[in-house]
Each structure stands twice: as C-alpha cells, then as structure tokens.
C-alpha cells in the first residue's frame, strides 16, 4: 500500500495525543494529578496533537467538501465511527477542561466520558485497518490491538515528560514500560509472521480460478501474468503496487523496533530524568513503524497484476 504522509502523521500524532488524554483523565479521576498547572499544560498538548492529527487526516481526502456526510454510516463503517467518536470527544474534552479549570477535575462524568471516547477513537482507528479482508497483513488482531497499545505507550511517555509532579510516577513508569514491552513483542511477532501471512493469502489460482479441476475441485495449474493490459501506471498500481526493497524494509523494521520501543524503554529504566529523549524517540520510531505498516501491507488485487503478496 502507498504510505500516505497525512495518514501517518494523523495516526502517530493523534495516537500520542489521545493516549496522553487517556492518561490525564485517569490521573484526574484517581486524584493522582500533582501540580495542576503542568496538568493543564499537558491537556493543551493533548488537544494540539490530536487536533493537528485529525486535520492532517483530512488532507488524505480527495474531496473534503463532502466530509460532513461522513458521520452517517456509524452502523457499518469504522471510519465513520472514528469520525463520530472524534467529534463527540471535543465537547466531552471541553467539559473536562472546564471542570479541570474550575474544580480541579474532580467530577467523574466529564473525565470518564473523555477517557471512553478517546479510547473509542483509538480502537476505531485500529479497526479501520483490521477489518479489511482484502489486506491479510492488516486483517488480524495485531492491527486491532496495536493502534491503541502504541498510542497508550507514547501517551504514557508524554505524561511522564509533561507532568513531573504526578503522584505515583514509579507505578506509572512500570505500566508504561509494560506497554512498551507489549508493543515490542506484538510488533516483533507481527514482523516474524509477515511472510507467513503473505503466503497464506489467496493465491493467483484462487484469484482467477483458471486451473479448477472439474473432478476434484482442486486448483491444478500454474498461472502467470502475460500482459496487465495497460502501458503505464494507474490508480490501482499506484495505490497497491508500492514496494519497499526487502533489505531496506528489514533495516527499517529494526529502526522502528529500536526507536519506538527499545530506546524509550532504556530511557525509562536508566535515564528517568531525560523523559523528552524517550518521547522524541518513540514518536520518530512510531512514524517509521507506521510508514512500514502501509508500505509492507499487500492488497489481494496484486494477484491480478502478477505481483507477490510478501
């Protein structure tokens, strides 16, 4: 799949912003928030990251003037659900921010509603990709779990960097480290399974049914593309024909694992006084991870273009 900059920026920035928002809601709900001013500033950072991300996602639309229609299909479309949750999040987050200003964020409902809606947006983002039967590399629980997990991990690093006086920094650091380890294991096992997933995707025989044995029903032919029917690229080859050289992909996978999870983990354990180091590394690593998430995914339409699935 063609990696679109706008969607990478959206999922990484909004992910971190919504993850941070989730952590702040929990901090206010449990009364763990220390210095109110730094928590207020963190809330602003969450709002800016989320909003910049969401605005960036609209750059992906070829016809954004119809975007107001996109809340209609809540019943069937995860993209619509993401939009609805994101729009509902704003009034909830504004009520939460007002409550933080006036009462120190002690009311249960604004914080709880903000927390639930932020998590709903994160889950929807994961499901947008995980629900596609046409892209076997995305159509699995790794994708559905990955988006919320990475968001909460990067949000956790942000909350440690932005609110130095938050109560229970020790336990928070342990939880964030656990999230990072879980993310590392999830992504590593995803990369390990990558080739297997591609190999178990529908074959050219299943795609074209040209070698169907009438007696056994088995596929018994070798199919090769002779001519794709067009002399130059088209929408399909541009959107689905993207390929990363294998060596470069392997290098980038290593870079993603190290920057997104490895370096922040070491920072948490050994240099807790340098929280921004972890944040910057995690966001850069997640940007690489997200680029690969698109660049390495293989759509089954490639079978009709004589292209491989891994």
């Amino acid at each position: 799949m063609r990696p679109a900059f706008s969607v990478i920026a959206f999922t990484v920035l909004s992910g971190a912003g919504l993850g941070l928002l989730t952590w702040l809601c929990m901090a206010f709900l449990t009364g763990a928030v220390g210095d109110a001013q730094s928590a207020r500033n963190a809330l602003w950072v969450a709002a800016v990251l989320t909003t910049v991300g969401l605005l960036s996602s609209t750059l992906h639309l070829a016809n954004p003037k119809n975007a107001w229609h996109s809340f209609r299909q809540f019943g069937s479309s995860w993209l619509s659900r993401e939009g609805v949750f994101a729009i509902l999040l704003y009034p909830a987050a504004i009520l939460f921010a007002i409550d933080v200003e006036q009462n120190g964020g002690r009311q249960l409902w604004p914080a709880a509603a903000t927390l639930l809606l932020a998590c709903a947006v994160l889950v929807s983002t994961g499901m947008i990709y995980a629900c596609l039967r046409t892209i076997p590399h995305w159509h699995n629980w790794h994708t559905a779990v990955g988006f919320p997990l990475f968001a909460l991990g990067s949000g956790g690093l942000l909350v440690l960097a932005l609110t130095p006086s938050i109560a229970g920094r020790g336990p928070i650091r342990v939880v964030v480290a656990t999230l990072l380890i879980a993310g590392l294991v999830l992504k590593y096992s995803y990369y390990r399974r990558y080739r297997h997933v591609g190999e178990s995707a529908p074959t050219a025989n299943e795609a074209l049914k040209l070698g169907l044995d009438k007696k056994t029903g088995a596929m018994n032919a070798t199919i090769r593309l002779l001519d794709v029917g067009h002399a130059h690229g088209n929408f399909l080859t541009r959107e689905f024909g993207f390929e990363v050289p294998r060596n470069r992909a392997l290098t980038l996978r290593l870079v993603a694992l190290l920057l997104a999870f490895g370096v922040p983990l070491l920072q948490l354990l050994w240099w807790p006084e340098l929280p921004w180091f972890g944040v910057v590394s995690a966001l850069a690593g997640l940007a690489v991870e997200r680029w690969l998430f698109f660049a390495e995914a293989r759509h089954v339409v490639r079978r009709y273009h004589g292209m491989s699935m891994y």
Partner: protein, 240 residues
C-alpha cells in the same frame, strides 16, 4: 428482487479490449457515471480511470499425462465490478456514497456524497474502483444503469455497453436471481465461478471456465512411419 450481473465466457474471450473501450466510450460522457476521465491521453504516460480492465494470463495445466505436453492456454480476463452480495466497499464507506440498490443489486457511487477517501477501493479485492483524480470522487462500473432501463432504446440495446460491444459474444448480462435467465442457465451449464470467492464477498458476476483442452501427445512425434522414412531417403539422395 433482482441480482443483475455479467456472465463472462473466458473460453471465447479473445482479449480484444472492445468491452473496455466501449465502457470508456459510454461512461466517459455519461451523466450517470459522471465520467471516466483520462489524464494526458496523448502524453508520455497516458493514464486514466477504467471501469473495466482486461488482463492476460498464461495458464499451464499441471496434470498433463506423462509424455504429453501440458496444455498451455492464454486466458484473457476482463474484470469490472462484481456487484457483490456482501460488498465491503459499501459497508466501509463512511458517508453512504457507496450503496447497493435493493431493487437490482447494482453497486453505485453517489459523487455528491463521496469524500474521495479511497477506503472503498481498499476494501475491494477486484480493483473495481478507481479514483477520479480530477473531481476527487470514486468511480466504478454502473452496469450501465443509464442504458439498461432506458425505454427510449430498443429492447435489444438495453444492455451494458461492454456486452453490446463484445465481438465474440463472450459477455452476457442478466438477472442471476432468476434461474430461467440466460446468465443463470449458462452458469449452471458451464460451471461458472466467482473470482476469489474465498474472501466471502459473494461476487455476482460469474466466469465461465475454459472448455477441456485435449492434451497434445508428444510421445509419437519423433517416431517415423514408412512415409517419413521414404521421404527422408528421397531427400538424402537428391544432391543439392
């Protein structure tokens, strides 16, 4: 409730692209489809939206008897929207611009609602949807919905442009919900299949498979009868 679609005979299709060109001709100017634009058609890298693309494959049978050359065939596969019964392109559309008509099962895009997010194209396994990069909306086969119900046309012409254009009559249009229709009968008689139906989209369009090709026996081509031997002897004694 009708289930309109195409039955395409892969055995008789000669891969001439007439269906694809007729589709471009009709839908390029059609109000209903809103156009299938070309980008620099006379430029260095011509490009554009096609609702129907023909791809060509080589199929080598793996089960030729020993001593026989395996039957190798060139197969031309025209592909357009399959008007799936379980169409994910419709389900994933956030705006409802993609819809499947309850009355006849045709999958259409409403350009006045489409945001051009490409999500439906991602959900389609057949590459049936292409973005109109000039107007920023998704385009696809309409099954010539602006022809098939047009009572101003003679009844024989109330068919998709691709079906009318096909010189070998490899394309058939009809209602798959009616077991008596030509497409249903053809599908039953020839064992028509849906492409990549392992994904569960329940494509409506059916592809009629190749007829059995007789294997070519190559074991006897080197054996020579008395005719060949005599002819070889005559050739050998004639000085050239």
């Amino acid at each position: 409730m009708k289930k309109l679609g195409l039955a395409i005979d892969l055995d008789t299709c000669v891969g001439c692209h007439a269906c694809a060109v007729a589709c471009k001709e009709w839908n390029g100017a059609s109000l209903m489809a809103g156009g299938a634009p070309d980008y620099e058609p006379a430029g260095a890298a011509p490009d554009g939206v096609w609702f129907n693309r023909v791809r060509h494959f080589e199929v080598v049978s793996n089960d030729a008897p020993s001593g026989c050359q395996s039957a190798t065939r060139t197969v031309n596969v025209p592909m357009s929207c399959m008007h799936c019964e379980d169409a994910d392109c419709v389900k994933v559309c956030p705006t409802g611009a993609s819809y499947k008509r309850a009355s006849d099962g045709i999958v259409l895009v409403d350009p006045d609602r489409c945001i051009g997010c490409n999500y439906c194209a991602w959900a389609c396994p057949y590459g049936a949807r292409e973005l109109d990069e000039q107007q920023g909306v998704m385009r696809k086969c309409t099954l010539c919905v602006d022809r098939i119900y047009d009572e101003a046309l003679p009844e024989s012409e109330r068919q998709p442009a691709c079906v009318l254009a096909c010189p070998t009559h490899a394309r058939h249009f009809g209602d798959f919900a009616d077991p008596e229709s030509k497409v249903s009968q053809l599908t039953a008689a020839r064992g028509g299949v849906g492409l990549m139906d392992s994904l569960g989209y329940k494509p409506v369009n059916r592809y009629l498979p190749l007829r059995e090709a007789a294997p070519v026996d190559t074991s006897k081509t080197s054996a020579r009868g008395w005719r060949e031997r005599a002819s070889a002897w005559v050739n050998s004694i004639i000085p050239i």
